[in-house]
Every structure is written in structure tokens, then in C-alpha cells.
Symmetry: C2
Subunit: 334 residues, 2 copies
């Protein structure tokens, strides 16, 4: 059980505004022979997700910040090469949070065995992984969709948004989505979304959303923040629920951008706005996995992947999240 | 049963920014002899409330806008002078929404008989009326206070805020309040509030609130909006509940002011922010009245009134709400 070669991506500068490729550095760091209670894993896929931008800032938050000079972290799927823990055997497929590297050796406690049930293993970084749980739990627990509700989803062509749209359709909702290109809009239409606004093709987002949802919205699933949130408040119906999942439009702001000018609608319209981090719904994972597996088997949930190849391209994949380079889940194949 | 003389306050111009006395006009309009199913009422007290500012704007909202050239409306208490409805007798004390006038004749359906149980009748415009229900239902239903929670209340010396503070103390919470003068702060301290920030005496509201609530807050009861809301988001603990009751600091803005720059904390801290209008909790009125009457009898809820005399002074009373002229409930004695 020798050590195996591995390259990793380290954070070498804290990004200011949009991250630059020079904020990252490729480095070699072999995955050592496992000690007692450890496993050695070769990663096959790693995830890049918008929330990672927040961890690049040096501040206390719900997860500690990334450290300069160290490898980044994030969701990954790999295969056990060697194990010094009885729970794992070579060949086991595992999911874990030690991504941004080609191979890793660490405590067996940091790895979960994955039963793929015939799904491609990278789906466990997407539709049946963290983004899928985010969509499922956020929509159900906070949005509380009822048949006939109108649901507005921003960033709808992303890993989370595209699953939200499809679950909302399963629940009998009318779904209005926003996305950043005509290609994404067409894909979403193909998934059954009722109306799609290409927010990059209009200078009047409010007018476009009003036209798409003339009777207003009951649920807003927010991945974007900024102008989209202000528009959603404007078109919200009384009693609307706002699922605050992400505000990607603001993650690279160099100074904090002001919030919506119409927040007083919260009062007059009796709106509930609730933010969340997916870990607060981790206890629902078994229920999520069962329901999602059933929907996939029935062909009711589909997904798309945007794949970048090679660890050295991981920073480019990450940066692409902020320019809309991905349709569906952005992945790095290692 | 002749008509009786009455003066009323009409809205004659839609205010721009802070309302001016010239936006209002005193006019004579006798209360006619009641017809079948009507009662004739002489008002003894009327209420002025911040929410009325919203109804002076010509836009659809949860209540229709006031009409130019017509008498304003709002909570009032009066005594039946003459009745053509079997449910009411002369001498009955009634509450209704046809304030801003000295006397009125209207359908009996618009009046509710008040059993005062020894309380001064104007209390039914305050602590045991709409502002009391607003405080009680907003704190309980949205804030969901638990023993040991830290509750931050802005505009705490007002009719709603001062009741919120006292209920939070009854529930075993640590209460931090903001108010606009040292006199108001001293009054709140006398009610049992743990810490009071005079927001007009500091140029660093965030620092002052941090010092008053060093471990952060679990509930924010917002009557004010603006900077207070941004500060509350900053000091909120994970899972905090924000009760959005009012945003008086913004009601006179001539163009919509931007919202808080730190709304993304909703996500990382898992904050729930819910707005409401008291009418959505009207079904809880009996439970509220019973509990509040008990607390008053036990001396656990106290209140203050700021009284202006004469219908002609009602606009001044209303304007005073925006300059902090009131401690506790602002009332007009007719």
C-alpha cells in the first residue's frame, strides 16, 4: 500500500471581487499510505458550488473559511484504493468533502459509502447529492408547495434550480423560471417548466416576470438575490413563501450591495422569507434519497451536467459558475 | 333622534414625504338621524397609527387607500346616542373603524360593543385593542419566544413595542430595546426591559446593540426597518426569527430606500423573516383578550398614553408619530 501521486488546488490569495485564476495554485501532494482507521481514495469527480465563494473570505460563517496555502475542500466522489478500516474495501465508491484533489488519505469517518443503484456516480454530487437535497428540502420544508401554486425559480438552469423546477411540477405547481440564455430556457421548457424568462435578454426583468406570472407568485425559490429578489417581492401574492437558498449575483461584490427597496411588502403581503443551509436538513436525507430515486426511475426528474476535465481546470470550472457557463451541475472529472 | 353636530378630518392632498398640516382639512359633517339597522355614535377617543401613512398613498395594498376630499378612517371608541338596531342601546360603549370624526351614523354592523371590565375605554384602542393584539400575536405566532431567548425590539416605546417588551419578559426572555430618548429609555427600564439603546444618542447603532446584546439575538421585533433591520441581521444568532411588523423609518421616504446590505445572512444564519398585518391574526382575538386581561389584572402589563385633545389636533397627533412625540399609545381625546 504505497502512497499515490496526487495533485491538488490550493487557495493562495483571497479573491477580491470575481475570483482570478491567480488566486489558485496547482500543487503536488501524494496521498500517503493509510494508517490505522484510515482509507486512501482516488477521486473520480469533484464538485464546484457557488457557496464555496463564501468560504474564500476570511470570516466566521456557518462553515469555517478556507485557509491560504492549503487545498480547497468540497464534495467529491472517489474509489477506495487501500483501507485500514474494516468498514471499507478497495473498490468501494465513496462520497466525501475532500475534493479539489486527485487522491486523498484520511480518517474513514470522513467517507460515506455510496450504493449507486445503477446511477452514474457523479449524480451523487448533483441530483441525488447535496444540490438535490437542497432543492427538495428547501422547496418542501420552506416553500410548502400546494397544487396550483405559482413558483418562481431564479437561476433555474443550475444544479439546484433545475431540480426545484421539476419537483414543483411534480407537486402540481405552475412554474416560472429565470435563466441566462435561450439555450438554458429551451432546456427548462423541455423539462416541463411553464414559462422561462431569459434575464439577460431583457432590460425590464420586472415586466418580463409580470408577463410570465400575471397572477403573481406564491413561492419564490431564490438562488440569485439582487434584482431578482426585488422583482419577486413586487409580484408576490399575499402569504407568499420565499426560500432563500443563494444570492449568487452578490457573492463577488467588493462592497455589500443594498438590499431590495421594497422589503416593506413583507408586511403588507404577509410574506415569509426563510434562509437555510442544506446541512440543517441533513436529517431528511433518507426520505429525500428514497423519493428522488423513485422519481428518477419513473423518468420524472432529469438532469444535465457541464463537465470540465482535469484537476488543473477546477478553478476555471468554479469561475464558470459566476458567468453562467454551466447548464445543470458543474462537475470536474478527475 | 335628531342629527348631531360633528367635525371630521379630511385628506385633501396626498402627502409627499413627511405629511404636512395642509394635507388635512377640518370640516363639518353632522351625524344624521339613524335609519333602520343604523346607530348614531358620539366618539370619545380616536387612534392615530403609523400604518395610516400607507393608506394616504394612492396604491392598492392590504387596505384600500384613503380617498381625497373624504374623512380619514381609523380606530375609535364612542358611545351610542341613538339606535335603530336591536343589538345596540343608547349608552353602549362601542369600538369601530370610523375615527377621525366627532360623531358618526352608520350600519350597526360596523360597530362592536365593548365590555370594559373596569378598564378605561381608550385602552381598547391600545393595550387591549389592535396594537396589543399586534404585539401579542406577532411575538407569539412569528417570534415563538422561548425562555432565555434574547429579544430585540425597535421602536420599543410605542404602543406595540412597549407591549412586546413586557410579554417577552413574561415569557422569560432577555429583552433589548431601542427608543428615541432617555425618558423613553427610563420608562422602558421601569417596565423591566433589560437593556435600552437610545438610538438618537449614538452614531454607532450596531456597536450599541452589540454591547447591549453581546451574545446576539434570537428574535427581532421590527417596528422601524432601515438601519435597525441591518443591525439586527448583523447580530442575529443562527435560527433567529424576525417579526416584521412595521418600518416606520421608511414610511415618509419620497423614493424607496434600499434594503439592508446584509440580507445574505438570512441564508448563512438560517433566519426566518415574516411580515404580517394584524388582521391575519384576528381569529386569535378571544385568546388574546383573555390572556391580556389576566396580565393587566396581575399588574404584569402596564401602559402609557400620549393624549392630544380635540379633533382639530388629530393631524398633529398623527404627525407626532413620525417624530417620536409619543410614549406608548398616541390618542386623540374628542
Amino acid at each position: 500500500m504505497p502512497s499515490i501521486a496526487s495533485r491538488e488546488i490550493r487557495l493562495v490569495a483571497r479573491p477580491i471581487g470575481l475570483p482570478q485564476s491567480t488566486d489558485f495554485r496547482l500543487a503536488s501532494n501524494p496521498a500517503r499510505e493509510p494508517g490505522a482507521g484510515e482509507v486512501q481514495v482516488r477521486n473520480s469527480w469533484m464538485s464546484v458550488d457557488p457557496y464555496m465563494r463564501g468560504r474564500m473570505v476570511d470570516r466566521a460563517s456557518y462553515v469555517p473559511p478556507f485557509q491560504l496555502g492549503e487545498a480547497l475542500q468540497g464534495g467529491a466522489i472517489g474509489t477506495v484504493v487501500a483501507s485500514q478500516d474494516p468498514a471499507f474495501q478497495p473498490g468501494d465508491v465513496v462520497s466525501h468533502m475532500l475534493g479539489w484533489r486527485e487522491a486523498v488519505t484520511a480518517s474513514a469517518k470522513l467517507f460515506q459509502k455510496v450504493e449507486t443503484h445503477g446511477l452514474p456516480e457523479q449524480a451523487f454530487l448533483g441530483v441525488v447529492g447535496m444540490p438535490g437535497l437542497t432543492a427538495w428540502a428547501g422547496l418542501n420544508e420552506i416553500g410548502q408547495p400546494r397544487e396550483g401554486d405559482t413558483v418562481f425559480v431564479s437561476g433555474a438552469a443550475g444544479a439546484v434550480g433545475s431540480v426545484v423546477c421539476q419537483i414543483a411540477k411534480i407537486k402540481g405547481c405552475h412554474v416560472v423560471a429565470s435563466a441566462g440564455s435561450d439555450e438554458k430556457a429551451a432546456w427548462l421548457k423541455g423539462l416541463g417548466v411553464d414559462e422561462v424568462v431569459n434575464y439577460r435578454a431583457t432590460s425590464d426583468l420586472l415586466g418580463a416576470v409580470r408577463a410570465a406570472a400575471p397572477k403573481g407568485i406564491d413561492i419564490y425559490f431564490d438562488n440569485v438575490g439582487g434584482e431578482h429578489l426585488e422583482v419577486a417581492l413586487e409580484v408576490a401574492r399575499p402569504g407568499a413563501r420565499f426560500v432563500e437558498c443563494g444570492m449568487i449575483s452578490m457573492y463577488n461584490d467588493t462592497k455589500p450591495a443594498p438590499g431590495p427597496r421594497n422589503l416593506a411588502y413583507l408586511i403588507g403581503k404577509g410574506i415569509t422569507m426563510r434562509g437555510f443551509v442544506v446541512t440543517s436538513f441533513a436529517h431528511l436525507t433518507p426520505q429525500f434519497a428514497t423519493e428522488m430515486a423513485g422519481w428518477i426511475k419513473e423518468g420524472r426528474i432529469k438532469w444535465e451536467e457541464t463537465v470540465v476535465e482535469g484537476i488543473e481546470e477546477a478553478p476555471r470550472a468554479f469561475l464558470g459558475l459566476f458567468t453562467g457557463a454551466n447548464t445543470g451541475k458543474m462537475l470536474v472529472k478527475l
